[in-house]
């Protein structure tokens, strides 16, 4: 079967719409993952053993099971107990929860990397726990984490096609519906690949820049 450029231009607007949803899902998912990750990281440091163990196990479980099945779970099982979510919301929650367990590890490493002396100095200056976190620990812990966090957000971007399985009309789903309508697979699916490759390559450039800008801090 021949590659047909006219067909490519014909389906381009539909695919661009899909790209918008893909990017929207990635952005919302990233925000949620950043928040969930911080929550998990803080809960695991909690002096309350019950809380830290439970959260630790839950995170381990989410990290060890496929995102697709979790999406199905959120989309198909939750309505049984009365929580009916629109597909995009269910997708964003799935992405955010799944990647939150990964970003939690980034936060943990970042917080552990703040030298002990900083904690002791905060105590010596008579800062409260809240003041220690907001003024001493977090400002020093965040910048070195940024490249690693961005890395996971790029990974999440590449997982968004899974949302098509729960009927979110993102890039992959648009391509599939176009392909099924005209029975031409070669252009839509190749274009989806091309879109992903181009956006990922750009994000890699951005990541390199982030690494140079934030990767190392002077001590």
């Amino acid at each position: 079967m021949e590659w047909d450029w006219n067909f490519v231009w014909e389906i381009m607007p539909t695919l661009i719409q899909g790209v918008k949803i893909t990017i929207l899902a990635t952005l919302l998912g990233s925000v949620l993952a950043a928040i969930v990750g911080l929550g998990i990281a803080l809960a695991r440091r909690s002096p309350n053993k019950g809380l830290s163990r439970t959260v630790g196990w839950a995170a381990e479980f989410i990290r060890g099971t496929p995102l697709l099945v979790q999406l199905y779970f959120i989309f198909y099982v939750l309505p049984d107990i009365g929580i009916l979510l629109p597909p995009l919301v269910a997708g964003v929650i799935g992405l955010g929860l799944h990647y939150g367990t990964y970003t939690a590890e980034v936060y943990r490493a970042g917080i552990d990397n703040v030298p002990r002396g900083q904690w002791e100095a905060a105590k010596a200056c008579n800062l409260s726990a809240r003041q220690t976190w907001t003024h001493i620990i977090i400002p020093q812990a965040i910048p070195p984490m940024i490249p690693a966090l961005a890395n996971y957000f790029i990974a999440m971007f590449k997982e968004t096609p899974l949302l098509s399985a729960i009927t979110v009309l993102e890039l992959m789903n648009q391509a599939k519906s176009v392909a099924n309508t005209y029975y031409r697979y070669i252009e839509p699916i190749t274009l989806v690949g091309a879109f992903f490759l181009v956006i990922s390559l750009f994000s890699v450039v951005l990541l390199r820049w982030l690494e140079r800008r934030y990767g190392k801090i002077e001590r």
């Binding site: 099971t65 697709l68 099982v77 992959m172």
Partner: protein
């Protein structure tokens, strides 16, 4: 009362397909990882370039798109694959690209003095790699390979979308037949988690065995 035992048998059949896919995908990924990883550190420009192109392409596009490409687009250019073949091909090539970077990183993490010692002992490039560098690098790679294998296991859920009867697919079948969503999805989540635990346990014991006798040699 529904016949849960029959449905459970269905899910177990799916588990076998998932395990089969994971094993075959891992073997392909391992082969690709060493080919491309060693290609990245080759002294020939063409090989380095080829390996980089492979790695960037497969890491830059989503596994989902690659799978659909292998299954729906390749037939149009004359290569018809069964769902299992397409699944193994896409999973192996995708995870192989990630693992190739692990191979490269591990080879480059071996100290300069080891390379100098190879030269001093008049070993050829291949001899040095085979007898000195790789045995040490393998131990560095192992833990990350374990993570990659778990990623591969989780990625196998995607093949259910190209009609391969793996765990996720069978869970959907059970859901369609019984109308119950909670039981099948919870069951397969637990099975996936157990499989992931098995992998990480296996890799850890392999690592212990390989590290035997290397105490004091490792930095």
């Amino acid at each position: 009362m529904t016949q849960w035992s029959g449905y459970f048998g269905l899910i177990l059949q799916g588990a076998l397909v998932t395990i089969e896919l994971t094993l075959m995908g891992s073997v392909l990924a391992l082969i690709m990882a060493f080919l491309a990883g060693m290609g990245r550190v080759s002294r020939f420009f063409a090989l380095r370039w080829l390996a980089t192109a492979y790695i960037e392409f497969f890491r830059g596009t989503s596994i989902f798109v690659q799978l659909f490409w292998a299954y729906f687009v390749l037939p149009f250019i004359g290569i018809s694959l069964t769902p299992l073949q397409a699944g193994v091909l896409a999973l192996g090539l995708n995870v192989g690209a990630y693992a190739a970077e692990v191979v490269r990183g591990a080879i480059q993490s071996i100290g300069r003095e080891q390379y100098e010692a190879c030269i001093a002992l008049n070993l050829g490039r291949w001899q040095g790699m085979r007898h000195i560098i790789l045995p040490q690098a393998l131990l560095v790679m192992l833990p990350t390979f374990g993570n990659n294998a778990i990623e591969l296991l989780k990625a196998t859920a995607v093949v259910s979308l190209i009609s391969l009867t793996d765990l996720t697919f069978q869970a959907q079948v059970v859901r369609a037949q019984t109308g119950n969503t909670l039981v099948p999805f919870t069951t397969i989540l637990i099975i996936y988690f157990i499989l992931a635990l098995l992998i990480s346990w296996g890799v850890r014991s392999l690592e212990r065995r390989m590290a035997r006798g290397l105490d004091g040699v490792r930095a």
